[in-house]
Subunit: 219 residues, 2 copies
DNA sequence: CTTGACACCGAACAGGTGTTCGTGGTATAA
DNA sequence: TTATACCACGAACACCTGTTCGGTGTCAAG
């Protein structure tokens, strides 16, 4: 038996609402969005959807409603678009950064989920939270999260995290190899570059992405 | 800060309940299963879980509760943890920014998918790509993507996009209301604030998140 | 001792929510 | 015509649900 147009719209709304909000809608929320003024009409049509096997209902509980099919549909597609990045710790000026171990021990700590379209490379990724204002010349603030790719070398112009052995300092800069030295260029073009001896710099990884959450930073 | 045993049990119950039943529990359902007689105590502990970033709540909505983060990986979980943000266009110093229309016309352009744990607010969100270096004092670079929430007012200390009518200029700053003026504070603490007449500033929205993709920026 | 933060309890309130009932319109079949 | 599903509306009811408020006890800092 087919569905009326109204019933289709109800079904689609329930699906969308549940996905967006993480909870099923109430009868009145359905009515409001589908254009039904009476709750009993919504109730009536919901019972038809139950009869058709499209949803399940639990009696006398608020939002006692659930879409039954619908799972495997676009789910796998969206899910495959996610990449999980381990949040390894903090990055601060005065300390070496934690890098992922070569061992393939399954990481079980905190992770950061990002959609794949934000990231071009997917191997050896890890994330760190910036501590302190020392990297402000790289336009990176206290509390920012940097997503990095582990690598020991870098191409000219790449934004890298380097460990300066003599200074015992971690910093984020764009790297340029010159004749007998390495130029570390702050991202902020108004600031002057820093020059270092090649033996003094140790590339820890390349910065892929920077994420700043504004709300968590108290004024 | 760690969780008390009670808070852990609440969190686990919410996770399990949501997965099993397809809807979040009510406050009283939580209390009944965790062994708390008073709804206010459940409410109290729920707010702590929100503060710790483990769940999100929607005010005055039944079952307005949602588990966030890597744990809630039920089938529907991950998908429900994604939020789609319309990418409305560019933001540049010399132009007003595009803001979402009040009409609920379904947006069909480009969107940005982010996981919910990166974002605390979910209503009226939109994203813009920064054009030009004019916002470097806000630690925002050319090409960065800013996620904003549409709002016409702002609390002190919030990072907002404002349109300066006289200057015909858009800028991103922290906003502070003072006696007869408005102080716009660059994010970079080494830079000086800008003062403006209240009639001259028009708040366009609050900055929620900043994302910088390093690879796409040519050296 | 006093103060304040923290955790908890019970009660009450306003509004949300599922359910039910009476009513009416519109087709199709007898 | 009458009968019968089917679909819809509005109102009322009883219970559910989130919120808020006053109060209690504990514990560490002052």
């Amino acid at each position: 038996m087919g569905l009326s147009e109204r019933q289709q719209r109800i079904y689609e709304f329930i699906t969308k609402f549940s996905r967006d909000k993480g909870r099923p809608p109430t009868i009145r929320e359905i009515g409001g969005h589908v254009g039904i003024s009476s709750t009993s009409v919504v109730n009536y049509n919901l019972n038809i959807l139950v009869r058709e096997g499209l949803i399940q209902r639990e009696k006398e509980v608020s939002r006692g409603l659930r879409v039954v099919g619908a799972q495997a549909r676009s789910l796998t597609g969206e899910l495959a678009n996610l990449v999980q990045i381990p949040l390894l710790g903090k990055i601060a000026a005065g300390h070496p950064i934690p890098v992922p171990e070569a061992g393939l021990a399954p990481y079980d700590g905190e992770t950061l989920s990002l959609t794949r379209d934000l990231i071009q490379e997917h191997e050896g990724l890890f994330a760190l939270q910036v501590k302190g204002n020392s990297m402000i010349d790289a336009l990176i603030n206290d509390g920012d999260i940097v997503v990095m790719k582990k690598q020991e070398t870098a191409l000219n112009g790449e934004m890298v995290a380097v460990w300066l052995k003599d200074e015992k300092e971690t910093t984020l800069k764009r790297i340029y190899r010159e004749k007998n030295r390495i130029r570390l260029q702050p991202m902020n073009p108004t600031m002057k570059p820093f020059f270092a001896d090649p033996r003094n710099v140790e590339v820890q990884g390349k910065v892929i992405l920077v994420v700043r959450q504004l709300q968590k930073t108290p004024a």
